[in-house]
Symmetry: C2
Subunit: 188 residues, 2 copies
DNA sequence: CCAGTGATGAGACCTTGTCTCGTCACCATA
DNA sequence: TATGGTGACGAGACAAGGTCTCATCACTGG
């Protein structure tokens, strides 16, 4: 057996979420999280830049988005590409088996301003990544940012409805949210 | 004369901006800011919730926005109300005499992730306030959020162009940005 | 058997942010 | 004038976040 148990980062993430759910984010110490994962405080900061990052999830969503946009058929318009990105998120990230974890994560984030702040930064990073991927497809400039913003707006409402009641299909919710937003935007 | 010099909060804000410009945000200590303002560290935290808040500006913009929206003529549509909000910002907040301070502030924020994060939180608060004000006018629900988001998108591009070159009129830039965004949104 | 590598632990150290307590000018009222 | 309350501030202890350095020790390849 190895000297250290593997998946230290994953263990830290799970320990953190459990403690945050049980006793709240700010009543949980980094030392506590590390101890629960069988590690030291210094090791925590070797895996995460700061305490908030432990709920981040990394670049998974960004790469999912940009990958789906790049893989969309050449004839597809910006909104169809955005729909493909949301569908990819629904199939890879917001699946039935991750439902519980995603719900807990969202609740913890909503309950804490610091975490909400960090989530907004991640959201902005997603907007930037989406915008770049759309421009790569030849979408000109105010349309690219606008489509990216609409996509994240749709992601937000879809995620809210998905976590509100179990057993739904995220992709369908996202698609509906996106078309609703598009229709509303057209009548402004 | 009073026991303490007045405008402690304002003095702290100025001292902070000066130090941030000269030596950077994270190479500046709260104790340093307080000392420069002739105050103690504990007094700093009595005026600002945390170090980032010292560049915040409070609810000024939010009240400006909601006030202008509420004061817009009853017949005006959501986008016209949004234009009025941006015009109010141009007349009260982004004036020629505040130009230097605003530019410095934007540069410091852009140079630091922590401050950018806080700025995004403020932006979200503005979106929420705008959405509520629009709903108050009878704008139904996906249109209200969408208009609010468009408004802050326009604010962002207008602010970028305004700070890029001195001597321009913010309100005109904002109005142009908003109509451009509306036109693009209509063709999505 | 030995040197290099790499993830970790231990702990000193600085800063942010909270909290308590004491101080002292200002104010109102008698 | 005297007296007590109010409110802004200073001093400093304290917890936690976050950085940094150094030592440890299994694993690897020669």
């Amino acid at each position: 057996m190895a000297r250290w148990d593997p998946n230290a980062r994953e263990r830290l993430g799970r320990a953190a979420l459990e403690l945050f759910v049980r006793q709240g984010y700010d009543r949980t110490t980094v030392a506590e999280i590390a101890e629960r994962a069988g590690l030291a405080k210094s090791t925590f900061f070797r895996h995460f830049a700061d305490k908030r990052e432990v709920l981040s999830g990394g670049d998974v969503l960004a790469r999912l988005f940009t990958g789906a946009i790049a893989a969309a058929p050449p004839g597809a318009g910006p909104l169809e590409a955005a729909g493909a990105a949301l569908a990819a998120a629904g199939e890879q990230a917001f699946t039935a088996e991750r439902y519980g974890t995603v719900c807990e994560r969202q609740q913890v984030i909503a309950a804490n301003p610091e975490l909400t702040e960090r989530e907004l930064l991640k959201r902005e990073a997603l907007v930037t990544a989406l915008t770049a991927a759309l421009r790569e497809r030849g979408v000109p400039e105010p349309a690219a940012v606008l489509t990216a913003q609409l996509t994240l707006l749709a992601l937000g409402t879809a995620l809210a409805r998905w976590t509100a009641r179990p057993g739904q299909d995220f992709t369908a919710l996202a698609r509906e949210a996106l078309t609703t937003l598009r229709d509303t935007a057209a009548t402004l």
